[in-house]
Symmetry: C2
Subunit: 221 residues, 2 copies
DNA sequence: TTTATTTTGTTGCCTTGGCAACTAAATTCT
DNA sequence: AGAATTTAGTTGCCAAGGCAACAAAATAAA
């Protein structure tokens, strides 16, 4: 594994609260493997057997929930330093619930689950910190799904949008939010019709609730 | 902690793949505390600071997502041996995203997060197994939310119901499923109107898709 | 820069299913 | 067992928003 990849990976949440020395020892132990993907290539298919935890080092990938009908629902964007596959670390089946594909050219690193488990004897305390980080990351992901459900359960489209923006603003902390995807994808994310979303955003602007400037939205509520 | 409580707790997923001896040592170390709740009492409020992992030993509790408007959305039922609060083990804030209340009289046991972390030195290998179990449980919970989203993203009520029943049947394994709650609550769970649900179930029965017998539903698809 | 592709706004029509209101049936409580 | 409460079925009305189709604007590719 090349040095600059090591350096990038260093700042992944996975290695938080781990010293530089421990980090070096750890990645030797974990022996991560680098892979490159061209835009639109598939990193992972639904139902694939997953034996690796992945970290996006460069580019952005997207995770989709596949539908029987062939349609897809965006679950999350994976910008650099995102972790994926970690929820499967401990499940019996290790089957991916999502399809992940490269939204741009992507560089990703993979760590075998086995390695994660088998290193305990060697470095118990670091291992513990590492597992704790994995736990934290999974917890965060869980809360993201939770936020999603908080949005989806709203009955009206406006309430969905409001809830989404509120969550995006860190529960009211920021006055301006930047939507991390296009309006087309946002509609998809909110499980709404794109034209309906377009209409409603306009209405909300008329009602003085928000000001839409491309992907930036000023909140006035 | 009384013996029969120990015995019940023994079969919680949390202690899977841990020997009887290890189990005994473990719970001494974890020093769990028992609490009793009368029906409708609150175990946990949204935004509560959570420092304990809980296990339901007897009775059933329910986790709800609170809404600004005061309405609630059922997230999950917690029958005996369910774990709760475990997702927060590693998050910074330890704030509960849900309100949990006793659907019947409930006996529950609590384990401090601290204990979970601080036992490593004493029993590394058991600790590892235990953390792995926590990881697995969180993973499972994650997938439950996932299933929920798979249901919610369906556009038509019928599709929602179908997806729900399919998931409930173990992806087609069982021909008969038992809905774990009343139709009223089911409507709530599907984020649909109760009367609409009633109508649609009847229609589906007319179309020969299902046979509804109280809470048991035969699947013919 | 020119072309191709994707994103966005906008309109009208029409279906899904939310809502209220009431009755009946089924549980639970005492 | 009888009363009280909760759950379930049924109806008609109506609004939210899905869908299709098109044009314009903006991005990306060549």
């Amino acid at each position: 594994m090349e040095l600059h990849h090591r350096a990038i990976m260093r700042s992944a949440k996975l290695f938080q609260d781990i010293s530089d020395e421990e980090y070096e020892a750890l990645i030797n132990c974990l022996s991560p493997r680098i892979k490159h993907y061209a835009k639109n290539e598939i990193l992972l298919l639904t139902e694939d057997s997953v034996q690796h935890l992945g970290i996006v080092l460069a580019g952005t990938a997207s995770a989709y929930l596949d539908h029987v009908s062939g349609s897809q629902t965006l679950i999350s964007n994976l910008p650099p330093l995102s972790i994926f596959g970690e929820v499967l670390v401990s499940t019996r089946m290790h089957r991916s619930p999502v399809t992940i594909h490269a939204a741009s050219d992507v560089t990703s690193v993979f760590i075998e689950y086995k390695r994660i488990y088998s290193m305990c004897e060697v470095a118990c305390s670091v291992h513990r910190m590492f597992l704790q980080n994995v736990l934290k990351i999974i917890g965060d992901k869980y809360f993201h799904l939770f936020d999603r459900i908080a949005v989806l359960r709203e009955k009206t489209l406006r309430a969905k949008i409001m809830t989404y923006l509120y969550t995006l603003s860190g529960n009211g902390d920021a006055k301006t939010v930047t939507i991390p995807f296009s309006k087309t994808v946002l509609a998809d994310y909110l499980l709404a019709n794109r034209s309906a979303l377009s209409k409603e955003l306009k209405k909300m602007e008329d009602d003085g609730l928000i000001v839409v400037k491309k992907r930036k939205i000023e909140l006035a509520f």
